[in-house]
Amino acid sequence: MTDALLAIDGLSRSFGGLKAVQNVSLSVREGSLSALIGPNGAGKTTLFALMSGFLKPDTGTVRFAGEDITGREPHRNAALGMTRTFQIVKPFAAQTVRENIAVGAHLHVRGRAEALQNAEAVALRVGLAPQLDKPASDLTVAGRKRLELARALATKPRLLLLDEVLAGLNPQEIAEMMPVVRGIADSGVTVLMIEHVMQAVMHLAEHVWVLAQGQLIAEGSPAQVTSDDRVVEAYLGHGTAARLRKAASGVAA
Amino acid sequence: MFDFGILFPSVLNGLTTGAVYALIALGLTLIYGVLHIINFAHGASLMLALYAVYFLKEKLGIDPYLALPIVVLGMFALGYALQRVVINRAGHGKDENILLATLGIAIVMENLALLFFKSDTRNIDTAYSLSTVAIGPAMIAVPKLVAFAGALVVSGILFWIMGRTDLGRAIRAVSKEKEGAKLMGIDVDHVYAMSFGIGLACLGAAACFLLPAYYVNPQVGGGFVLVAFTIVVLGGMGSFVGALIGGFLVGIVESLGGLYLGESLGQIGIFAIFIGVVLFRPQGMFGAKA
């Protein structure tokens, strides 16, 4: 617990009758690169929203660097060092890439010139330098994902919550993006990513949590988690694990 | 102050006005529910319909109630054309643009009326304008009773169209799931225009019921816009039942407000309701939470 940058305890949230998140507890170690996986509708994005303050939990607490931030407004959490990206990218369409990233930079920098310079530096890091003066609306999906990442990075976060930053990318784009994420983590930023792209999870994450139907059903290293029966069943249906083993032993025989 | 003899007629009057308000609000609800447009031109359109009824009576001698089919069809055509030709093009995918477009249309309508009809207030005289009927201690003007009944009948017809006809089903499909409706072969643009047309047609009916007991000048639209929106947000955006009940409620509030605070200050009651609902309970009584 001493190394936990983010610690959530007993977090729950319902919408009407739907229990989106049920009694989830986890702690993210500072400096780690970890992943949150689970089938669609498991509540992963809801969990991110609860952590970052976009939603208030029904019960439970969120602690960041030891401080209770449960239910605090997102902008205050960003100032503390927790920034999130969105599954469906939200660029400031009317503005250029540089101006977009500068908004993030302004969190720590008052002066416009300095913020724009910082934006340029961040754009370089994520590979957006050639696009700096293009309007955000001109970017491809991959470009917008990078922009989303860059803007969040510009806030100099301690914890970066990446929501499916690889979704919608083709294999080449994924291969280009993965080192970027690795590089961010290597520079000292704690990263927690929601991801469906398993190759990224296996290659990047040190620790994985699995969410299904709002509940935490497994956690561990990527290898442990992917061989866990409960995880297989969550993705592929009840009884699948046993069937797969039977089929495997049948083939081997 | 709370003398039944004064309250009762006031409430009854409020109900009769409320029925017509409900009809106006129903049109607005349909337009919002289907097209998700806040039709700023609703009040001005009503004003145009009122002038139509007026001129049909003054120039052609047609009684307002007999003019119903003409005005309703005319307003329907106007609505269909407006949506198809103007509003459809203004969207560009942003709600604000449509808002501005309907505002522009409202401004043009109001001021064209000012230009051509001048600012005098006009009303019509019919054989029954001044006759009243006694209900308990209240003397209710016959036109108001007819308005009440008529508004309810037209509302009923609207409910029937929405619930029992193919058009109504298509409209409901489009309002719930536009893309899916397209895949089913529904001509969405046509449905949009039909909905807008029906919305304005309701205004046509409302005008026929309204004019015998009321008046018209180029500015009346403005007053009706906010009343109509108050009803729609009170009832809940997109809820027909809400618009109906909301209409009656607002009619009564206006009547009582006018009774206790005077004509102009009484209007503030309606605005207060509007601001209050929008701030504190935006889904109104029956609307879905946004």
């Binding site: 970052s52 976009f54 407004e73 997102p74 902008h75 960003a78 920034t83 990206t85 969105f86 939200k90 400031f92 009317a94 503005q95 500068a102 908004v103 993030g104 302004h106 969190l107 008052r110 416009r112 050639p130 696009q131 003066d133 970017l139 491809t140 803007r151 | 103007v86 093009r89 203004a90 942003k94 709600d95 643009n97 808002l99 501005l100 477009a101 505002l103 522009g104 249309i105 409202a106 401004i107 043009v108 109001e110 001021n111 064209l112 009326a113 230009l115 001048k118 403005g222 906010l226 102009s264 200050l265 209007q267 503030i268 605005f271 207060a272 509007f274 601001i275 929008v278 701030l279 935006p282």
Partner: protein
């Protein structure tokens, strides 16, 4: 020269050129035209701050105009306060009303059409109240007596008024410049373009919108006070009626929302148009507004980014295209 410095130079040039107009011509008609065009610009600029940069469309901006106007009149008539002293009072008063409105509406997350309607409702409420209350002159309105002297903010020639409103317009231009080139403006436009994304990177949307409405209201209040000084009269219809609200927003939109010179362009074009109409058709009631409404609809359909927007698009056509790969 950096882009932002070029903009400042542009503002300075504009200020000097327009200030020189009274030295170039003594024609009352011309001076009046320029003065009224500047006044139209001022209200458009005010609307632009909240609507163009902030993305919050107000349909009842007259609320702030009328408040400024009434404070200017009442301070002089009932408070015996000098017109020049009343002016900052009017501006602050209008700004306070703006902050109040903002606090109420933004706290509850009002946006888009709901916000537009509520602003309209507020303006109407104030109009009805102003009609019914004595200290606003009720239905008769208030008259500020004619006492021409610079000390009274009343001038015998339009030139004096022209310089006063020019100063206000330049102030608004400088504020707009600041919005384009500073952190607050970046935050405001971020909230406009995507509020959630802005929140995620540390922007407090409530505070930012509040600042915008306060500034916007302040300039409307200044315009209201100016109106009282020029026309020496104010009543509920002029103060809180829809005309001012509509003129402000149409000019800003036609000219180009969220740009620095858009409101200037839009106001001048519309003013020219209405002058032309008056010369061609005489004083027909409502003809002005028919034109404004038609122009609004046409612009929304065909050129939603306004005249300044056309300029921006043209400039992009001329720029060499950057690399097409990502």
């Amino acid at each position: 020269m950096k882009g932002s410095t070029k903009q400042l130079a542009g503002i300075a040039l504009f200020a000097v050129l327009v200030a020189c107009v009274p030295f170039v011509t003594k024609s009352g008609v011309t001076l009046n035209f320029v003065m009224m065009a500047l006044y139209a610009t001022l209200i458009a600029q005010a609307w632009n701050i909240l609507g163009g940069f902030g993305g919050q469309f107000s349909f009842g901006h007259a609320l702030f105009f009328g408040t400024g106007a009434y404070i200017q009149a009442i301070a002089q008539l009932q408070g015996g306060i000098n017109a020049w002293v009343a002016l900052p009072l009017a501006i602050v008063g209008a700004a306070l009303v703006g902050l109040f409105m903002g606090a109420l509406t933004f706290r509850y997350g009002l946006k888009g059409s709901y916000f537009a309607l509520v602003t309209l409702a507020f303006a109407e409420v104030f109009r009805i109240l102003a009609l019914s209350v004595d200290f606003t002159g009720g239905g008769v309105g208030l008259m500020v007596p004619l006492r021409e002297s610079v000390g009274n903010l009343q001038f015998s020639s339009r030139a004096g008024y022209l310089w006063v409103v020019l100063a206000m317009v330049v102030a608004a231009l400088l504020v707009t410049w600041w919005l384009r080139n500073g952190r607050f403006g970046a935050y405001l436009q971020a909230v406009r373009d995507n509020e959630d994304a802005a929140r995620a990177v540390g922007v407090n949307p409530f505070r930012v919108k509040l600042g915008a409405i306060g500034l916007s209201a302040a300039f409307m209040g200044a315009a209201g006070a100016f109106y009282v000084q020029v026309f020496q009269y104010i009543d509920a219809g002029i103060a809180y009626g829809p005309a001012v609200s509509i003129e402000a927003l149409v000019a800003a939109i036609v000219g180009g929302m969220g740009t620095m010179w858009g409101p200037v362009l839009g106001a001048v074009v519309l003013h020219l148009l209405s002058d032309l109409t008056r010369n061609l058709f005489g004083e027909l009631p409502g003809i002005n507004m028919v034109i404004y409404g038609t122009v609004l609809v046409l612009i929304v359909i065909f050129v939603p980014r306004g005249i300044a927007g056309i300029g921006l698009s043209v400039r992009q056509l001329w720029k060499p295209k950057g690399g097409r790969h990502d």
